[in-house]
Amino acid sequence: MTHDTLEEFEAREERLRDATDAGEEIGLVDHERRSRRAFLSFAGLGALGLFGFGLVQNRPEDENIPDVLRAGLDRNERLWTSIERDGARARTFAVSEREELRVNGRHGLRDVNRDMIQVDDDEAATWEIELTGTDGSALDPIPLSSIKADFEVHDMVWEHKCIEGWSNIVHWTGVRFSDVLAAYAPDQDTSEWMVLRTPRETDGGRVERVYSSAIENYTMLHPQTLLAWRLNGEELTAGHGSPIRIVTPLKYGIKQLKRIGSIEFTNDRPTDYWTERGYDLHAGF
């Protein structure tokens, strides 16, 4: 086609005129005055923006990030928690889709010489997870042998997501944390937070530093949160957290503590290894 009919053309011209601001016109003197005002306001806005950004950057730090950002992250969490999410499950995959998982974090797994501590079968046979109640009292520990023998074993395949920005589909074997808690410390199941820590001392020696992860009640009791001892069908290696670790598709990998030594129940806002270093306490999906 070459061009529209004249009627169509004129109709379009009409539309184009409507689409402009219908040309409010002002004199140049008036324009000068208005321009000056506009330049000044937007320059002011720019200065304010820069100042504000500097202000945020220089705020006193709350666990390694400016306090207003920390407050923002907590506010974000409150917002997402207020939105209905009960029953929300992470997507699962077929076992055949599973991929290799690289060893990333080694905190809490190495000795003072920064060598990986191995947990042998003898030590695993007597491994226990120590529990501290919300009132600070020591509760009966959970023997690993009981975790493996006394509860329904689940195989779950989901996308394991690292906060660094990579993800892999992995296959975990373990038992639901909620099942174990119901058997060992049912009176703690309303505790708002559960803080998991790696052991300070193992048969292989003293650890370089204790790693910790604080997870809120909702995630800990979620049916997809497991105490796992197998990854992709193989027993956990030291690097992946032998003999027992926590896994959940509701949190980034930094929260999925390897080699659990103890769990503390608390109702006070806790902190943990990466939160102290500026990360979001919640780091959840």
């Binding site: 053309f9 409507d18 409010e24 002002i26 330049f39 990030i65 992470a90 990360y279």
Partner: protein
């Protein structure tokens, strides 16, 4: 496709009249639009800067723009990081990204409402003739053609670009939320075809937006000071031919 002809009695742009001309300031951008534009600028800078900090955390650069296995552009070449000594600072990057992201979202919502009201979106979305005018407009931009086809507030290339950028921003926000809350917003992840595809969309849209900013700044510089100032002042100064009787006959833009 044959050339588009306009009725000869309505020329696209009137040739400069040999007679008298006068300058007139014509309204171009509303106050609301100017505010949204200038709020967007620093927010976008913060989002890109903090987003880079997050991206650099995984230095394997898994997102590569390519087609049929042919690598066009690695999303962020390591050489740039090492040259500028940019260290990854993930924690701070996440904190800024997840807090300032809301400003980008709010500004985008305000802009979308602004566009939807009073049919303003018609200025942005090219109609059929607008699409047909794209080659001619492009030819004008690169100097192969003297006159611009008739246009409303924006020419057809601007329409195409600004509509595209709006869509890219929508994709950025949607994919951002999919990455941020993939369980609670699992339907959104499904929409993108998975978590990894959502990440790919997020990064690709970022590259698109960066390219837009680059072209936008170049075009603004090319358009001249008086045109560029309109996003601050709201008015564009135009030269207008004055008929012998003193009555204005047609406005001509001072700069493209």
């Amino acid at each position: 496709m044959t050339a588009i002809e306009y009725p000869p009695d309505i020329p696209a742009v009137v040739e400069a009249d040999s007679g008298e001309t006068e300058l007139v300031a014509k309204k171009k951008h509303s106050l609301a639009l100017r505010w949204m534009h200038w709020i967007n600028f620093p927010v976008l800078m913060i989002m890109m800067w903090s987003g880079m900090r997050i991206y650099w955390a995984d230095l394997r650069d898994p997102y590569v723009l390519g087609i049929f296995g042919w690598e066009l552009l690695e999303f962020w070449p390591d050489a740039v990081n090492s040259y500028f000594h940019l260290e990854a600072s993930l924690a701070k990057g996440i904190a800024f990204h997840l807090v300032f992201g809301w400003l980008f979202v709010l500004n985008g919502v305000a802009y979308t409402i602004h566009l939807a009201r009073k049919g303003r979106w018609r200025r942005l979305v090219p109609d059929r003739q607008g699409l047909r005018d794209v080659p001619a407009t492009l030819a004008h931009e690169i100097g192969l053609r003297k006159e611009l086809p008739p246009q409303g507030k924006y020419n057809s290339m601007q329409q195409l670009t600004y509509s595209f950028v709006w869509a890219v921003a929508m994709l950025l926000v949607a994919s951002g939320f999919a990455i941020y809350k993939p369980v609670q917003l699992s339907w959104l992840v499904t929409l993108f075809g998975g978590y990894d595809p959502a990440r790919w969309v997020h990064f690709t849209a970022t590259v698109m937006l960066m390219l837009f900013v680059l072209v936008h700044v170049i075009q603004v510089i090319r358009s001249g000071r008086r045109n560029a100032a309109s996003i601050i002042t709201g008015y564009r100064v135009e030269k207008r031919a004055v008929a012998p009787t003193g009555e204005a006959v047609h406005a001509e833009e001072v700069s493209p």
